[in-house]
């Protein structure tokens, strides 16, 4: 296999074309996708937790992922192409965040209110997803939608990567550049304003980038739960809460975690296991263990 990789890079001996094909047009895009999604979801998890100064805030709890799922599923139902699915996911992801923001008054309301609003918005979009499933054609569309919803990297290919990856990369890059300043986000309104920084602009940029990343991830591989919650918290336990260090570490840990989970999903059983199931099965116990050891959680 290593030889195949080298051969692809133009530096190895002869390798059967079939193997080279498998490595370069199936495994490689899949690995790239998994690492991008892992990194992206972890970074946006960090950002959302800071934005709402709530350790439970994730793309899932704020309804962004559900909104993006609904957008993607709707596009699948209408038979749009890949671009359509991704744009629609982004659109509804932003819509869901706005809805959560407005109903929870995210800039002034309490942390709990925001999370409650996020859960409401999330369940609203989940039921809309159910509605789409209900109306979908049971023979062709429904299996595709269901499978997609559970999250899979199976469909990974360079075509979908070229549409989704730049959005994730740009979002991550902007957040990484802003990472020290993102430390201001959990502060109370007056404190943040008194730092002399234009905190509203910072919030808007971070919100937009995190939503962009989440929606792009969802549009490429469905709703992969847990990563946005577990990885930032694991990283906090490892390196502390300073975003300057936390964000880069989350990128690497998130990418590594996702690649490992995807490899397990591919190899653990003859039939591929949906990725969400694995992240939850691995993540939840690990997370509980960490929490018990750390006696509680915080930002």
């Amino acid at each position: 296999m290593l030889r195949a990789v080298l051969a692809g890079a133009g530096a190895g001996g002869a390798v059967p074309a079939q193997i080279r094909n498998v490595v370069w047009s199936m495994r490689m895009p899949r690995l790239i996708l998994a690492s991008l999604v892992g990194a992206g979801l972890s970074v946006s998890g960090c950002a959302f937790q800071g934005l709402f100064s709530n350790p439970l805030a994730t793309p899932d709890t704020l309804g962004v992922a559900s909104g993006a799922s609904f957008g993607a599923v709707l596009a699948l139902l209408l038979g749009c192409g890949l671009t359509g699915v991704q744009l629609s996911a982004l659109l509804f992801g932003v819509a869901a965040l706005l809805l959560t923001g407005i109903s929870g008054k995210c800039l002034t309301g309490s942390k709990t209110t925001t999370i409650l609003a996020g859960i409401m918005v999330g369940s609203l979009f989940s039921s809309l997803v159910s509605l789409v499933k209900f109306t979908a054609d049971t023979e062709s569309q429904l299996p595709a939608i269901t499978c997609w919803l559970m999250g899979s990297f199976e469909s990974a290919g360079y075509a979908s990567l070229t549409i989704g990856a730049p959005a994730i990369l740009i979002g991550c890059a902007v957040l990484l550049c802003l990472r020290w300043r993102m430390n201001l986000l959990p502060l109370s309104e007056d404190e943040a304003v008194s730092s002399g920084v234009n905190i509203r602009a910072l919030r808007l940029i971070v919100e937009f980038c995190a939503t962009l990343i989440t929606a792009s991830c969802v549009s490429m591989c469905g709703q992969v739960g847990w990563v946005g919650l577990i990885v930032p918290h694991i990283c906090r336990l490892l390196v502390g809460s300073n975003q300057k260090v936390l964000l880069p570490v989350s990128v690497s840990v998130g990418a590594a975690f996702m690649m490992i989970v995807d490899t397990l999903a591919r190899t653990a059983s003859p039939k591929e296991i949906p990725i969400s199931i694995l992240t939850a099965v691995i993540g939840a116990p690990f997370f509980i263990l960490l929490l018990r050891k750390n006696r509680g959680w915080a930002l």
């Binding site: 800071g50 100064s53 550049c177 802003l178 990472r179 020290w180 300043r181 430390n183 201001l184 959990p186 502060l187 109370s188 309104e189 007056d190 404190e191 304003v193 008194s194 730092s195 002399g196 920084v197 234009n198 906090r236 502390g240 809460s241 300073n242 300057k244 915080a298 930002l299």
Partner: protein
Amino acid sequence: MRFEVRDGLFRYPGGERIVLDHISLSLEPGSVLAILGPNGAGKTTLLRCMLGFLKWDEGCSVVDGTPVGQMSPKKFWKRVSYVPQIRQAPAAYTVEEMILLGRAGEVGSFSSPKERDLAAADAAIKQTNLESIRHCSCARLSGGEYQMVLIARALASEPEMIVMDEPESNLDFRNQLLVLDLISQLSHEGMICVFNTHYPAHALRWAGKALMLSKDGGYRFGDSRRIVTEKSISECFGVSAIIGSLETGGGTYPDVIPVGIEDAGVPPVQGDDNVIAGISILLENTENAGLLNRVLHEYADCLIGRMGVPYRPADVHVIHPVPLPRDEFVFHPLRRADVSDLRRGIVLANGIRDRKSGIDVSGCSAACQ
């Protein structure tokens, strides 16, 4: 820097009630202002209006002649720092990381703190004595420590004015003193310090200026000794209080003791209670006056003051006429119970002789006020 509020008026949006009614104040470099007032009188609102978190409906805050509304927020916050009321730490930053956030206005958007910022944070850490906990997580600090961290964060931006919302309210005695002493230290360095407090005694001891709000939107502003009086406390808080001072070897400390709620029928306290006992000794002949002065000098340790001029700091000792042998006048430490004796009225002493020195100062009359 000179900070002013000119004719500031504020009412809550939609509400008819005027919270702050045409407030004017002016602060020079190095002045300390304590803002007092009952709960709900608008102490925090006043701070927030002064800093521009809330917009004055009329009037404005002014920095060196420029209205705050005309300054860029960045410029304003470079010169002014704000310390909020302590709540739970927002995130488990270490003390050092938290204090560095005070430099956010100086650090570029896409950048992290540079050497200059680290040095400023370091100076703030030293000034607040936080070296020993600089790597601890803010989530694990005690209230007093966290308050100091927030003050240090405010100092890290090297401001000319620092505004604190109830910095000592939830702290124990020791931490209260740490915070208040830091305030006077900062003011000696020329910084303007403004703080909200629930303790009139703190205003008397640590603040040169005081602003007392009452619930009807009225206010009084001026030197704290003129503002914090038994009358004003009774009018603004509805509480009858005694203002006095305790004299000890280390100095004189003002104190305010709330006696009771006035609505409940406790009459307001009358009189000037700064003085424990005042004795006027009227002498008919000048020779005796000279003798008495010699005695008084000899016993300067026991005396708090004479003719308005303080003697050496003394324990609570006063000259006390004991009329038992009618011709003798004895100095001895004053006991609490004696104060009422002294207050009773005029004591006449025909012959005054000190047992130790044998000086006779007859012909004096001592009057107790």
